[in-house]
């Protein structure tokens, strides 16, 4: 029996991109992990937190703490949600030492998917095959809050048949930003169109990222621009053979 790993698939994957969650489970199981899905999970609370509603975010964060109290490892297909839990839960409970202690214990157990594979599972070659030219979009929170840059690239480098072409500029935001995408839709649209231009310049057929929300923004803009470049989560690429 392998090490137990709990999935936190995030509300967006649960509701909109379920195949990302399934792909993540497949990859982890193939590596010998025993994967479970705590059914009471919902959201990390980031939408409320980023919108200034801290009391509401705190309620959702508490629910998360209760749900994953006993999970030794929590793997998440999103850099942004991981950063919310690993960095901002502490901001929410800084006046509540008891909950803060629970948060600090939790912080050590949450992992963004690619980080879990390279750091905890210690793998780079997951045995995947994916015949395509791809480019990789760094989600801002994975990149800047979690410092994830090499892990997904090391994993992609070992995928058979895959050619990676880097974006230039590489570290620009796609303009999603949660409610920002609708509160400042015109501005967010301008940002993603710049991203789409950069993607098209690479000649890649597929855009890969660690964050479903960035991918939703980018896919929506690609589709609006009439492009047939597709978006995929890293887990979906790594689950291909």
């Amino acid at each position: 029996m392998g090490q137990r790993v709990s999935l936190f698939v995030t509300c967006i994957v649960d509701q909109l991109f379920p195949t990302v969650g399934l792909a993540m489970a497949d990859v982890l199981e193939r590596l010998g992990f025993e994967v479970d899905f705590p059914e009471s999970q919902t959201c990390c609370g980031q939408p409320a937190f980023n919108s200034g509603y801290r009391a509401e975010a705190r309620m959702v964060a508490r629910h998360f703490l209760d749900t994953f109290e006993s999970s030794p490892f929590i793997v998440i297909p999103s850099g942004s949600c991981t950063a919310m839990i690993a960095h901002h839960f502490a901001d929410l409970f800084h006046k509540d030492p008891e909950t803060l202690a629970r948060v600090h214990s939790l912080e050590k157990r949450v992992f963004e998917f690619s980080t879990f594979l390279t750091q905890v599972a210690g793998v780079e070659d997951v045995g995947a095959r994916f015949d395509d030219i791809v480019t990789f979009h760094d989600g801002c929170h994975a990149l800047r809050e979690l410092g994830v840059k090499d892990a997904p690239r090391r994993l992609l480098a070992r995928v058979r048949g895959l050619e990676l072409r880097e974006l230039s500029p590489a570290e620009e935001c796609c303009g999603f930003g949660g409610t920002f995408a609708v509160k400042f839709s015109e501005l967010s649209g301008a940002m993603v169109r710049t991203k789409v231009e950069a993607i098209l310049r690479t000649g890649a057929r597929t855009v890969v990222s660690l964050d479903p929300s960035c991918l939703m923004q980018i896919q929506g803009a690609l589709s609006r621009a009439g492009s047939n470049v597709r978006t995929m989560h890293l887990a979906e690429v790594l689950a291909s053979r």
């Binding site: 509603y53 975010a57 935001c173 400042f184």
Partner: protein
Amino acid sequence: MPSEFHQKAHETLANANLQLAIFTATGRLKDKRVEAVGPGELPDYQELRTQANAIKQHAIDNLDHYLELFERNVAARGGHVVYCKDGTEVSDFILALARERGAHLIVKSKSMTTEEVDLNERLEHHGLESVETDLGEYILQLAHQRPYHIVAPALHMTRYDVAEVFTRRLNVPNEIVIEKQTALARSILRQKFLAAEIGISGANFLVADSGAVVIVENEGNARLTTSAPKIHITIAGIEKVIPRAQDLATFLKLLARSATGQLLSVYTSFLSGPRRPGEIDGPDEFYVLLLDNGRTRLLPDKNKRQSLFCIRCGACLNTCPVYRRIGGHTFPWVYSGPIGAILTPQFMGVQQEPDLPFASSLCGACGEVCPVKIDIPKILLELRSDVKKAETRDKQNRLEKLSFRVFAWLMTHPRLYEMAGKMLRSVGVPSIQAGPLRAWTSQRDLPPLPGRSFREMWRRR
């Protein structure tokens, strides 16, 4: 109705020439910075940032001590320190001094702090002539505009715009060659330097242990401003004080590199008091006006007070994907970009422009490039919370508040959350034409909805 902020953002986004001008100019500064702080050029860049942050933290935590030390050391060199609560106290002091000395003409070097208090307008209102001598600021003064950018004030203007302003305001033939435009401004400003009775400058640093004012610039106009007229007045925010002259070794390495990618700016001037016997130039009288203008209001909050660490390099503007598209004049106050988005609500109150802290995708690029490590994204998040706490109970706010209550309730009741998701997928999201969805589809397509949620698929697996 869209707010003024939204409206101006929209106008800037829709102006293709302006978009190109901002994007190109900030892009150049951004690339130069990346090169100048890179591992080949400045291997200890991250250590310097940490050090700069620690010095600022210490200086702001002990602001009273260092201001008094600075004041004593300025006095010891024959200068005078005057504390000013706000712009009125600044202009009252200058007007009184000008009246006493019979001064009419003032030359000014670039200073964001004086922009804060609309100094030129206040002085001109009382019949004084106050001339900006930084080329960009001079152009803007002629055009009656405020700075578009902290470091490059006329960044949004092309040479054709400048030609138009010069022709209209100076009665000169249309001239589009940049060198000739510069020569023209130079010849006019030179006369002003020679005739002015008072010079006004800002300050990049106030050094407590030596009583020196440090000014960093590229055009030499600040050096002329501070040395040619008989009276010199420095106007600086109280947060500009640093403990020791040796701290400059840290800050000067970071400032020009972060601002323009230069290793050092062309001129770094140290002013310490009036001209002494035997010296051939320098002012006879030397004043430093220390301005509060709301700064002390930031001190009680231990986290947000780091906003006062800012050394005004502008790196966060050049790197910000929002500033680079909505530009400087969209922002409600003189400080624009990410630093403006955190300073403005704290100086003017969060209700002044409640949208401001929300105009960010929270990408974090600003925090990453800040040479003194101000955690701008974290402060934006705190200000968002402050805005919500201060918000009025109008209809739109009530609706949003209610939505987030429902959100929190659903997200803490997994069964109801699952049912709500199921309902949404069966109704079909595209059939809902509510505000946020319309905003989404105005720019991009919606993803196709899956037939089942992950949890439903997981159970069947």
